[in-house]
């Protein structure tokens, strides 16, 4: 399943352009982080992808089939997880999921199978008879995820799923998303917690003022590698680091060094080769380049693609 967003434009009242020619694509098995400041157009884009809103122009296709032209087909293929869940005192988890299974057109034994399947996957089996009102925020997010998955969609769109979750719930959610990605679902996930996204996403799309930002420029512009040695060889490493081709600068960082290189992978490989040749084996060799937070901070200064 390939999802393609092409030149999406959405203008609200008084000419406010929430999405401005946005284009990106992702495929099955990919988990895409959808990043941007507040008001960047993330939720609007996701709502359009879920057929809850219409763009002024542009298109979204699923394997070439337009979501806008054939919303009824898109409903079967897309699961949308919004950032909140209705808090009802008169609906249990099981009834809520049962309703959506029926609403997605499942019939007969397929309803129970689907509901029990998503309850088990999201760890809701023991909470199935609780009302939505009685659930914690983390559990509500699980219900919301289960609802989005109940018809087994090929594409999952998650709007701020980690919003308001405690650390444990975040880790559990991350594991669920990873599992879904490994199961071959194409996932688009937005969040303000960039470190969380970095751990579960295969790549990211950064937007600001409705337009996609050029993250590649940030990646190639600055490349940092974090190094740590045993204390007795730490000082000896500095001259070696500085004489390595491609290394621009090195600075002390705790018990080790942060090394700035001109380019990405090639410079890192050369540095590793040189250190091992001099028998200066690092106990930590971690490229900092491409960290989502760094890229985000760099590109959201107005560097439009």
């Amino acid at each position: 399943m390939k999802v393609e967003v092409t030149n999406l434009v959405k203008t609200f009242d008084r000419g406010f352009r929430a999405v401005d020619g946005l284009s990106f694509s992702f495929s099955s098995g990919e988990v895409i982080g959808f990043v941007g400041p507040n008001g960047a157009g993330k939720t609007t884009t996701m709502r359009i992808m879920s057929t809850l809103d219409t763009p002024d122009s542009g298109d979204i296709t699923l394997d070439g089939v337009s979501v806008l032209d054939h919303p009824e087909q898109a409903h079967r293929l897309i699961g949308f997880m919004p950032d909140d869940l209705p808090s009802r005192t008169d609906t249990t988890v099981d009834e809520y999921l049962d309703f959506f299974a029926r609403a997605y057109g499942l019939r007969g034994a397929a309803i129970r199978k689907a509901v029990e399947g998503v309850e088990e996957f999201t760890g809701l089996t023991e909470f199935r008879d609780r009302t939505l009102h009685a659930l914690s925020k983390g559990m509500k997010q699980r219900v919301s995820l289960a609802r989005a998955l109940v018809h087994d969609p090929a594409v999952l769109i998650m709007d701020e799923p980690a919003n308001g979750l405690d650390p444990r719930a975040r880790i559990e959610l991350r594991e669920l998303v990873k599992a879904l990605g490994e199961n071959g679902k194409a996932i688009l996930i937005s969040s303000h917690i960039l470190s969380e996204l970095e751990e579960m996403c295969t790549s990211s799309v950064i937007i600001e003022r409705g337009r996609r930002l050029n993250a590649d420029a940030a990646v190639s512009a600055e490349t940092w590698i974090k190094l740590r040695f045993l204390p007795d060889v730490n000082e000896k490493a500095l001259p070696i680091l500085l004489e390595t081709p491609g290394v621009i600068a090195a600075e002390s960082s705790g018990n080790g060094w942060r090394v700035k290189t001109a380019s990405g992978d090639e410079a890192a490989a050369a540095l590793a080769e040189k250190l091992f040749a001099r028998k200066l084996v690092p106990i930590l060799f971690e490229p900092e380049v491409g960290k989502l937070e760094d890229i985000f901070m760099h590109v959201t200064k107005g560097n439009l693609a």
């Binding site: 809850l52 809103d53 209705p86 009802r88 609906t91 009834e95 309703f99 609403a103 609802r147």
Partner: protein
């Protein structure tokens, strides 16, 4: 397939939620007790007022309990249940929790139907709880057997109507305060014209000792046709309000309007005054809504363009049905006229050509007027929104005045010969058929021209396969 899988998912969900509502459960528990106590009090009161002779010879005592039971059941089915449904829906729409349902295979029409059906089932339960007391009133004599069947049925139908009406403000995209005001307005004004009146008429007919032979066509119309009209319209309007933007949200409303016109329009010319009056009212309301829809810029949806036939000729023919703006309304009137003529031909034992002609002439005049006004309003809307709205109001006012004057002439309150040549005047079409035929032809051609100008941009988009 099992019944539970045939049920509308929204109905099932609503019923599950209602079962958990303490208000509903307590209400259902208290209702029979309340009916029992009330019946006992009314019976004892009636017996207290009777002479020993009347008691001995068994004068009918059922009338009083029947009224009491009907009033209490009516409060539940026509008041409390619709209010509960309306408030619940208003909260759902305000919190946008209905939005997720539109990412499923459900349509807005299914959602509206599901909510009305759930309210109908709860009303049926309330009426079923009251049924033993209706039967009791029959056993106490003084009431026709048919009354014990028709009065509960009326209350049930009226309950569905009120629930449907309650959905209108609840589903509208307005602030919650405005929804409450609209709800109060609907519940206080419309029942006078519709269901409460019909229930009252039915009840009065039988309670006063009437038999089924006194059950007139007008009564039947008020009792069942009017409620069905109202339910159908409310469902369509609620569906249009709820529908997400990617859908042709006015489609259900458009289809309903076509059907309502087709069925309702001939009744304007019925010999039964109440039928003519109410049907005229309804046509006026529908005409105003059609005018509003006609003047609203409602572009052809992407879905309509995609699913349109590839053949150019078929595409042209399909265009009016692909947009909710005035062309479809125009066709609605044409279809209504054709259907109406057929209906008159089939049902009228004393059909004559002149009757058919005046009916058609009047329909074309009304249709053309709405289309012209809507077209002008739409063209001007972008450039001069205020002016367009003013023109729309003037057109609506014109139709309202003509209908109002027409009503007065039919009730013999006034006799205005000068009114007859005005377009859309029913009596005018009867008195001056040739003049109105010319007026209708001119107006239809004018309407076509206006439509062509007003929708040229839509048509440009639609015509390319």
């Amino acid at each position: 397939m099992k019944l539970q899988f045939r049920i509308n998912p929204v109905t099932l969900k609503e019923l599950r939620q209602l079962v958990r509502s303490r208000l509903i459960l307590w209400g259902m528990a208290v209702l029979p007790i309340l009916l029992l106590v009330t019946t006992a009090i009314v019976l004892s009161s009636e017996m207290h007022d009777m002479s020993p002779m009347e008691v001995t010879y068994g004068k009918g005592l059922g009338g009083g309990p029947l009224i009491a039971v009907a009033v209490i059941t009516g409060i539940v089915t026509c008041g409390l249940i619709p209010l509960f449904t309306s408030i619940k829906t208003a909260i759902e729409t305000s919190k946008t929790s209905l939005g997720l349902e539109f990412t499923t295979a459900l349509t807005s029409a299914q959602i509206a139907t599901g909510k009305i059906t759930a309210a109908a089932i709860i009303s049926a339960i309330a009426v079923a709880l009251a049924m033993p007391f209706f039967v009791l009133s029959y056993l106490m004599r003084g009431v026709e057997l048919v009354s014990t069947v028709v009065v509960p049925l009326e209350l049930f139908v009226a309950g569905i109507v009120m629930s449907s009406l309650g959905l209108l403000p609840a589903c509208s995209r307005r602030p919650i305060a405005m929804k409450i005001i609209l709800l109060v307005a609907l519940y206080t004004v419309l029942p006078i014209f519709a269901t409460s009146l019909s229930a009252f008429m039915t009840f009065r007919s039988w309670h006063s000792g009437g038999t089924s032979s006194s059950w007139s066509y007008a009564g039947m119309f008020f009792a069942f046709v009017v409620p069905l009209f109202t339910i159908a319209f409310c469902r369509a309007q609620a569906a249009a309000e709820l529908a997400p933007p990617h859908t042709d949200f006015a489609r259900t409303l458009r289809i309903t309007q076509i059907v309502l016109f087709a069925v309702g329009y001939p009744l304007i010319f019925s010999d039964e005054d109440p039928c003519a009056f109410w049907s005229g009212m309804w046509t006026l309301v529908a005409g105003m809504i059609a005018l509003g829809a006609a003047s609203r810029p409602l572009p052809v949806t992407r879905g309509a363009v995609i699913h349109a036939p590839r053949s150019w000729i078929l595409r042209v023919l399909a265009f009016p049905f692909a947009t909710g703006s005035m062309p479809s309304m125009f066709f609605a009137f044409l279809l209504a006229t054709a259907s109406m003529s057929m209906l008159v031909l089939i049902t009228s034992s004393s059909f004559d050509f002149n009757d058919a002609r005046r009916i058609i002439v009047h329909a074309f005049e009304c249709g053309a007027l709405v289309v012209i006004a809507g077209s002008i309003a739409r063209v001007i809307l972008d450039a001069h929104p205020r002016l367009a709205k003013s023109l729309g109001k003037i057109a609506v006012a014109y139709i309202a005045i003509i209908n109002g004057l027409q009503l007065l002439t039919e009730l013999d309150v006034m006799d205005r010969d000068t009114l007859w040549p005005f377009p859309c005047c029913i009596e005018g079409a009867r008195r001056l058929p040739n003049v109105h035929l010319v007026i209708a032809i001119v107006m239809v051609f004018a309407a076509i021209c206006f439509v062509m100008v007003a929708t040229r941009e839509d048509f440009k988009r639609f015509r390319k396969p």
